[in-house]
Amino acid sequence: MHITIADRKSEIADGTTVAQLLEIEKVEMPLYVTVSVNDEFIATDARETTVLKDGDHVEFLYFMGGGCR
């Protein structure tokens, strides 16, 4: 099935969870990354149980701190 990550189409296996997708996408420090699926924030403890569906739109939101001194 196909999902969109940011503005990029991606093919993933049926039954892939948000937690698995973070691994597949090699997202660094996933604990400090906010995930949204179809305009809904996914709680960190719901990543294992949130199964992605065909056509889902996933966003990873990263902390960015600098201002910068």
């Binding site: 940011a6 420090m29 924030f41 939101l61 902390f63 701190g65 600098g66 910068c68 001194r69």
Partner: protein, 269 residues
Amino acid sequence: MNFTNDQLARYSRHIILTEIGVKGQARINEGRVLIIGAGGLGAPVALYLAAAGVGTIGMADADEVDLSNLQRQVIHTTADLGKAKVESAAETMKAINPDVTVKTYRSFIYSGNILDIIKDYDFIIDGTDNFPAKFLINDACVIARKPFSHAGILRFNGQLMTYVPGAGPCYRCVFREPPPKDAVPTCRQAGVIGAVAGVIGSLQAMEAVKFLTGAGDLLTGSLLTYDALKNDWHKVRLPPRRADCAVCGAKPTILEPVDYEQAVCDLKH
């Protein structure tokens, strides 16, 4: 307000824009914007807002100009080394545009002074370099019902979003809590390209001008990200406000600004 001939000439490129006009320029000249942090982001914001004629610009920063700042903090010059950043920034802004009243706050922003400082402003710019300060600014702006522009830069990347009371999620809705100290690298540790600060800071100035004039759409409910190496821009549409957000949610638990431990030690460097 009545413009002098000099002002009509100075702001002519704004006034000729349908979306701005004389009315919009008057709003800019009557506008009050606070910039927290006179660094990489604060520098371009201050330059553009002073040039645009924003009536009152507040600048808060406790630091002095250091040689390692000059690669990106374009409001300071080599001659300003050792000078208080707010003084150096104020001098440059006044030199660009004598119409502008600059108020300087040479102090750390913390839970005890932030509400008192932001209350006199229409729009706040977060140009700080650390998460405790970013969360503090968010919480204070939500509590005081002040709109603000959040931004962050690192290496070749930058991002920004705008919060307006009642419109879209706040910074805490998206990121919940500051990450543990050193979990996420800072510019000091990981570096940053000077021009990225210019790109993102200029966008923050743009948000302030759009807010003051009412022109166009603000970055509320979305986070704009920039990857300079890939020339990639992406506007993330953010989910709506979290009902359980600790500060802007239905039953907030943060009712006054709080300091996170990291703030004080980080701000001193």
